[in-house]
C-alpha cells in the first residue's frame, strides 16, 4: 500500500485587502451596483452637507445652552446640583468597576477602539461649547471611568467572586441615587418630586420601570404556561387585556383618573403612578417575549432535568429559564428600549421629563420656533441611551454564546 503524504500545513489564502480592493468588491462589483453606489453616495453627501451647515451656521443653539440645566434636571434647585454630580460619579465609578471586573480576563481592557472612544469623549467634553462650563468635572468623570476600570480589573483578577456582588452594588447605587435626588433621613434637605425632572426623571422612570417589569414579565410568562387553570387564565387575561389597550390610555388613567377616585392623602405620587403604569404595560409585552423564549427550549431539556430527579421549580429555574431568557435577549432589550422611549408620552400629561422640559423651554418667547434645535438635542440623548442598551444586549449575547 502506498502511503499518502499529507499536504504540508498551509495558511489560509491571504485575503485581498486594502481600501481599493474592498471598494471594488463591495461597492463596484458590477455596473448596477456602481450606479447604486454613486446615487446613494451623492444623496448621503448632499444631505450630510446640509446637516453640517445647519448645525454650524443656521441653527441657533441658545435654546439648548441656556436651558441645559433644566433639560438635565428639571426644576431641581440649582444650589443642589452637586447631588447630581455625585450620582453621576457613583454611576461612573460602578460602571468602571463593572467593566473592569467583567473584563478581568481580557488581555487589553483598553484596546485600540476603546482608547479612540475615550479620547473622542474627552476631546468632546473639552471642546464642545455646550459642556465647556463643566468640562473639568466631565473630564474628571472620563478619568474616573478609566481609573475604576483598571482598579476593577486588578481586583477582579484577585477576587473573581466580586462579579457576584455587582448586582447588589448597582442596587445600592440606585437606592443612594433616589436618596440623593429626594433628600431626607434628616441629612439632606428634601426636594419635592414636583421639582424632579428632565433627563434625570426620564432615566429614573425608565430604570425603575425596566427593573420592575422584568420580574413581572417573567412571572406572567410562567403563569401563562402553568398547569393550574386559575393561574393560567388570570395571566392570559392580564396579558390580553393590557395588550389591547394603548399605552397612553393606561398613562392617562394613572395620571388623570386615579386622582379623581383617591383623596389627596392616599394618592401615590404622580411619578410613582407613571412608573406603575409603564410597568403594567411593559410587563404584558415582556411576558410574551419570555413566553416565546420558553417555547423555544426543546422538551428534551426539561425531560432530561426531571429524569435526573430535579423537581419542576428547579428545572424551570436552572434549566429552562436561563435558555429561554438567552434566546429572548434581543426581544427583551427591544422592549426595554420601547419603555425608555415611551416615557416621552408622559410629557403631554404634564410630567416634566426630558421631552417635557424641552417643551417648557420652547414655550419661552425667547426661543420661539427653535423646535429643530431642541428636539435634535434631546433626540441625540435618547439615541445615546437606546444605542447603549442595544450594544449591551449584543455584548451579552456574545458572552452567553456557548456554541463554537
Amino acid at each position: 500500500m502506498t502511503s499518502i503524504t499529507p499536504p504540508a500545513a498551509t495558511r489560509p489564502p491571504i485575503a485581498q485587502t486594502g481600501p481599493l480592493a474592498w471598494a471594488r468588491k463591495n461597492l463596484f462589483s458590477d455596473w448596477f451596483n456602481s450606479i447604486l453606489t454613486v446615487v446613494v453616495a451623492s444623496v448621503l453627501l448632499w444631505s450630510g452637507w446640509g446637516l453640517v451647515t445647519w448645525i454650524f451656521s443656521k441653527a441657533q443653539w441658545p435654546v439648548v445652552e441656556n436651558n441645559l440645566g433644566f433639560m438635565m434636571t428639571g426644576l431641581y434647585p440649582q444650589a443642589q446640583y452637586w447631588r447630581m454630580w455625585i450620582i453621576m460619579g457613583l454611576i461612573v465609578t460602578l460602571s468602571g468597576l463593572s467593566w473592569g471586573i467583567l473584563g478581568r480576563n481580557q488581555q487589553y481592557l483598553f484596546g485600540r477602539s476603546v482608547l479612540i472612544g475615550i479620547g473622542a469623549i474627552a476631546a468632546a467634553v473639552i471642546l464642545f461649547p455646550l459642556t465647556r462650563p463643566h468640562s473639568p468635572i466631565l473630564f474628571g468623570m472620563v478619568a474616573l471611568t478609566v481609573a475604576t476600570a483598571w482598579v476593577g480589573q486588578q481586583a477582579g483578577k484577585r477576587l473573581p467572586a466580586l462579579s457576584n456582588w455587582l448586582a447588589a452594588g448597582w442596587f445600592l447605587v440606585y437606592i443612594a441615587s433616589i436618596w440623593l435626588i429626594g433628600g431626607g433621613l434628616g441629612i439632606l434637605a428634601p426636594v419635592r418630586t414636583e421639582n424632579w425632572g428632565g433627563l434625570v426623571l426620564t432615566l429614573l422612570m425608565a430604570v425603575t420601570g425596566i427593573a420592575l417589569c422584568f420580574p413581572f414579565g417573567i412571572a406572567l410568562a410562567i403563569g401563562r404556561r402553568s398547569e393550574l387553570p386559575i393561574v393560567q387564565s388570570l395571566s392570559v387575561a392580564y396579558i390580553e387585556l393590557v395588550r389591547g389597550v394603548p399605552l397612553i390610555t393606561i398613562l392617562v388613567m394613572g395620571q388623570v383618573m386615579i386622582p379623581l377616585f383617591l383623596p389627596e392623602g392616599v394618592r401615590p405620587d404622580r411619578i410613582l403612578r407613571a412608573i406603575i403604569a409603564l410597568t403594567i404595560f411593559s410587563s404584558a409585552y415582556l411576558a410574551e417575549n419570555v413566553r416565546a423564549g420558553l417555547q423555544s427550549v426543546p422538551r428534551g431539556q426539561s425531560e432530561a432535568s426531571v429524569s435526573l430527579g430535579l423537581n419542576k421549580p428547579l428545572t424551570l429555574i436552572l434549566i429552562v429559564l436561563p435558555q429561554a431568557l438567552k434566546t429572548a435577549i434581543p426581544a427583551i432589550v427591544g422592549q426595554f428600549i420601547s419603555l425608555f422611549q415611551d416615557t416621552t408620552l408622559l410629557a403631554p400629561l404634564g410630567l416634566l421629563e426630558l421631552l417635557g422640559m424641552a417643551n417648557t423651554a420652547l414655550s419661552n418667547p425667547n426661543y420661539l420656533g427653535r423646535y429643530a434645535e431642541a428636539y435634535a438635542f434631546i433626540g441625540v440623548l435618547y439615541w445615546f441611551f437606546c444605542y447603549a442598551m442595544a450594544l449591551g444586549s449584543r455584548k451579552l449575547e456574545q458572552q452567553l454564546n456557548t456554541t463554537h
Binding site: 428534551g300 432530561a304 432535568s305 429524569s307 430527579g309 430535579l310 435558555q323 456557548t402
Partner: protein
C-alpha cells in the same frame, strides 16, 4: 432464566431479585391512540435487557414509563419496590434511582460539561460541590472526556456528548439505567465509543434496559432480548435464541429487515 452463554463478559451475574416489575401496562395517547396494550416485563437486578422492535411500536413510550416521563392508565409498574403512581414524592424518589440516556443526548447547552454532571448531585442529593466534582471527574475519566470537562456541550462531538450524558446520569448513582436508542443519532464512527461505555457499565453489574438496534451489542451484552410490536411484547428470549432461532413470525420478519 439467564443462559450461561449470554453476558459472558460480565463480572457479576444477575441475581434473581426483580427491580423492575411491569404488569399489564396499558397507555393511550390523547385518549384515543392505544400505544401500549398490556405489556409485562420483569427485570432482575444486574440484568441487561435489550428492547427491539419496528419504529412506532411503542418502545420509547414503554421505557419512559419506568421513570414516569410518560404516565400510563392501566396496570402497575414497581421500581425497586416503589409503585409508580400520581404521588409526586414517589416519582421524584424513583427518578433519583433511575438514570436515563436519550437519543438526542439532551445535555444542558448553557452549562459546562462538569456542571452538567454535577448539577443533579448538588441540587438533588445535596452533596457539597467538592464531592460532586470529584465524583464527576472520576466518571468523566471513565468515559474518556476528562479533558473536555470545562467545555460546553456544543463544542463536543456527538459521541462525546452522549458519553457525557451517560456520566451525567451515573453521577446520581442510580440503581437502574434506561437507554433510548443512545447511538441512533450518531455518526457510525462514534457509535463504538458509546457502546464501549455501555459495555463497561454492564460489566460492572448495572441493571440496564436498552432500546437499541445494535445487534452486536445485544448479542454480546444482553441477558435477554424482547421484541415489541404494535404495543405488545411479541417475544422474549436470550440473544442466542432470538437472533439464531426466533420463535415468532413477527420476530423473523423484523430480523430480516435489520440484519
Amino acid at each position: 432464566m439467564t443462559q450461561p452463554q449470554a453476558g459472558t463478559m460480565r463480572d457479576s451475574q444477575p441475581v434473581n431479585e426483580p427491580v423492575i416489575i411491569a404488569q399489564d401496562v396499558e397507555k393511550w395517547y390523547d385518549n384515543n391512540f392505544h400505544v401500549l396494550r398490556g405489556v409485562s416485563l420483569t427485570v432482575n437486578k444486574g440484568e441487561v435487557v435489550v428492547v427491539m422492535g419496528p419504529s412506532g411500536s411503542g418502545k420509547s413510550t414503554f421505557i419512559r414509563t419506568f421513570n414516569a416521563l410518560e404516565p400510563y392508565q392501566k396496570g402497575t409498574i414497581d421500581i425497586d419496590g416503589i409503585r409508580i403512581s400520581h404521588d409526586l414524592k414517589n416519582i421524584e424518589t424513583i427518578r433519583r434511582e433511575v438514570g436515563m440516556v436519550f437519543q438526542q443526548f439532551n445535555l444542558f447547552p448553557h452549562l459546562t460539561v462538569l456542571k452538567n454532571v454535577t448539577l443533579a448531585p448538588i441540587w438533588v442529593r445535596r452533596w457539597p460541590k467538592a464531592k460532586a466534582e470529584e465524583v464527576a471527574m472520576t466518571l468523566l475519566e471513565r468515559v474518556g472526556i476528562l479533558e473536555q470537562a470545562n467545555k460546553y456541550p456544543g463544542q463536543l462531538s456527538g459521541g462525546q456528548q452522549q458519553r457525557v450524558a451517560i456520566a451525567r446520569a451515573l453521577a446520581m448513582q442510580p440503581k437502574i439505567m434506561l437507554f433510548d436508542e443512545p447511538t441512533s443519532a450518531l455518526d457510525p464512527e462514534m457509535v463504538r465509543e458509546v457502546l464501549d461505555a455501555m459495555r463497561t457499565l454492564a460489566a460492572e453489574g448495572m441493571t440496564m434496559v436498552c432500546v437499541t438496534h445494535e445487534v452486536g451489542f445485544a448479542r454480546e451484552v444482553a441477558d435477554r432480548v424482547v421484541l415489541m410490536a404494535d404495543g405488545v411484547l411479541v417475544e422474549e428470549a436470550t440473544p442466542e435464541e432470538f437472533f439464531n432461532n426466533p420463535k415468532e413470525e413477527r420476530s423473523r420478519k423484523f430480523l430480516s429487515q435489520i440484519l
